[in-house]
């Protein structure tokens, strides 16, 4: 069997499995702080793998010769990863967020998890990072508050809609090409 035939066969078997399960195959990466949150990412990966999703935790799944931080724009841009979940619990992860959010080939795949006190919808914080989350939230819609079970406060529609609309019009005015459609 030639290389092309093997690749086609792999695709056919994958599609048969997808058809039977009515679910698509998915590859995703779970990124975050190497200290806090690593165990949680491992547990999440385990759950996802049990559902047929290929979930990578770089600290565990990458060869030791390569530091986990090598997951940079370049690698994510050229890989076939479907989603990148980034738990922001350290300045390192926040730096990664800044990198990925500004890359138009990665940003749409990015799912950002932040503590409620830094989430633009759930917090009155005026920090630069919270502001950056708001921009990402409006452009791509994927910034989520996570809090280990604590009840997060929820804003009123009166507070939320003007905030999102204001940021949208700012982006539309100054960077119209960056509005995702």
């Amino acid at each position: 069997m030639s290389k092309g035939n093997t690749a086609r066969r792999v695709r056919i078997i994958r599609e048969e499995a997808e058809e039977r399960l009515k679910r698509s195959g998915l590859i995703l990466i779970l990124l975050g702080s190497s200290e806090r949150g690593l165990e949680e990412r491992r547990q999440v990966a385990e759950v996802l793998r049990g559902r047929g999703i290929v979930a990578l935790v770089p600290e565990d799944d990458f060869p030791k010769e390569i530091g986990p931080s090598v997951i940079e724009d370049d690698v994510l841009e050229r890989s076939d990863v479907d989603l990148v979940f980034l738990s922001i619990e350290s300045w390192g992860a926040a730096t990664e967020f800044g990198q990925f959010a500004s890359n138009p080939r990665i940003a749409p795949k990015l799912r950002v998890l932040v503590r409620p006190e830094y989430h633009p919808v759930h917090s009155p914080s005026n920090s630069y990072l919270t502001d950056l989350y708001l921009t990402h939230l409006v452009r791509y819609g994927h910034v989520y508050p996570v809090d280990g079970g604590r009840q997060a406060p929820v804003p009123s529609a009166k507070a939320l809609i003007p905030m999102l609309a204001e940021r949208h019009r700012e982006i539309k005015a100054f960077r119209p090409s960056r509005i995702s459609k």
Binding site: R20, G25, R51, V54, L56, P58, I71, D74
Partner: protein, 122 residues
Amino acid sequence: MKTPAAPEGPDSEVIERLKAYTALDNPIRLRAFRLIHDSPGVPFNEIAKHIRIESGLLAYHLGVLKAAGVVEVAYAREGRQVTSYRLDGIGQELHSELFRGRPSRTPKTGKVALRPAPVRPS
């Protein structure tokens, strides 16, 4: 918030296949998969020599194979960390399914001779 329940029973086999074939559905990973089959215990750097892509990207692809449960990884220290790869049980089955009756490229043909790393289970 409710999370959708994971399928159970007969679907679990299909789930394993979906995960494995999602991982293999890429030309670079398919090449790495064959190489690892043909040279059990092959270290990362040897794979990198034969699959000529940037090492960060190769690390990602091998990570996908590992996360999908297709390959097993062992670590050893030879002055520095050495990560080596071999197919696990599912990987062997998949290889038979895909390449049944197809001759191995290595090392008998001499096309590539890979140096296996000393294996220490992770």
